[in-house]
């Protein structure tokens, strides 16, 4: 009996369906999709339809993907994602095609997006008219330090405001 013919090139299968309009956040370091959802306020602060794929095999190891329909990200959200997934790419989708694609980049300074881990840091005083402020030490792996007390928070994903 003849063996069935196997096509030489198998078309790449998508783990989650394409979206018509919205944003695809790709190359999220494995396991961090949940943190990305938290940053985007999903599901509490957003009603967008969201698809998530985790531990997807890729050329650079495993990754997570988040697709958010009918929504573009705010620069502050992108900065926060950069902190927990420095290799992530943001793809803006319009009518099923990629309109714009860029890699996240941690800015030199972050204001009001991370809470200092030092409870006695002046930036944690509710009485003072200031926002938290962090300076970058290294981009990958992401390391930042508080502008006020110079302390380096360890678990960044837990410190995101």
């Amino acid at each position: 009996m003849k063996k069935p013919k196997v096509p030489r090139f198998k078309k790449k299968e998508l783990k989650i369906p394409r979206i018509k309009n919205g944003t695809v956040i790709d190359h999220i370091s494995e396991g961090n999709a949940v943190n990305v959802l938290h940053i985007l306020g999903i599901p509490k602060k957003s009603s967008s339809v969201v698809s998530v794929a985790m531990n997807v095999k890729s050329k650079m190891g495993k990754k997570d993907i988040v697709k958010v329909e009918n929504r573009e990200l705010h620069p502050n959200e992108v900065n926060k994602i950069a902190l927990i997934a420095p290799k992530a790419t943001i793809n803006i989708i319009s009518d099923y095609s990629v309109k714009k694609k860029y890699r996240v980049k941690i800015p030199d300074e972050m204001v009001g997006i991370i809470k200092c881990s030092n409870p006695t840091c002046i930036s944690n005083s509710k009485n003072e008219p200031i926002e938290s402020r962090f300076k970058i030490i290294s981009r990958d792996p992401p390391r930042i330090k508080c502008y006020y007390c110079e302390r380096e928070p360890e678990d960044l994903s837990e410190r995101i405001i």
Binding site: I122, E128, Y148, C149, E150, R151, E152
Partner: protein, 309 residues
Amino acid sequence: MNFKGKDIISIKDFSKKDINQILSYAKKMLPYAKGEKTTEIMKGKVLSSLFFEPSTRTRLSFESAMNRLSGRIIGFSDPSGTSQKKGESLADTIKMADAYSDLIVIRHPQEGAARLAAEFAESPVLNAGDGAGRHPTQCLLDLFTILIEKNKIENNNIVLVGDLKYGRTVHSLAYALSLFGTDLTFVSPKNLKMPKEVISECKDLGVEPVQTSNLDKTIKKADVLYVTRIQKERFPDAEEYNKVVGSYQINNELLKNAKKKLTIMHPLPRVTEIHPEVDKTNHARYFEQAFNGVPVRMALLSLVSGVKL
């Protein structure tokens, strides 16, 4: 560096060259700090001395420094009588002090307070210690003491001993000494070791500190022994504390093995970590070190005000 109008918040804001500039200017201030010469370079200038936390040496030496330069001082040494107790923000207190004076010195229990003060003040702000954080003028006077005693900071074997985990002065001192490439040894009980971040900062600057808990062996090679207090509250029980504290006490018996020219420093106040019998030896320099706060702070007040001797 042109220091005019600059804030003095953290030693990390300055390069080795900047630090050398401050220290050599502080040397020029020595006869004025001792009262052997007089100067009026700060006449007409007003310093706000805002001590939200108690302090003896830092406050007195800042005030002495300003007086020796013929400037005047306003301020408080206890915040209980101020609007802070009524709930006023530090930012508002600073804006007020800024309007009343030409310079601000601040000590505050919260880390980062001096940086905040600098943001809200037009005048230069000098950090006199913020919580467990930075104390740059202490670091500078420590460096100045080594410079005066040894004629140079480089090529000395400097041993930091005591509570290296929580000790405020030793962290920035280890960083600053690494800028000068000195040999560093850290001696502490196991539960009070120098934090990893500080070690990696030293390494980034090309210095590989030696870490040990054995003071006896270390003292033989030391040129400078910088002693800090081990606090009782860092230990789970009194017995444990007594055991550790005894093995880190500096006394004449221990010093038999030391180099003749060993310099012993301590940021003070000391309790039992240096036996009073050591005070009479040629090694003891901690009171000179406390005095050195005056010329160093005179140099800083003068430099940030843009007036020179």
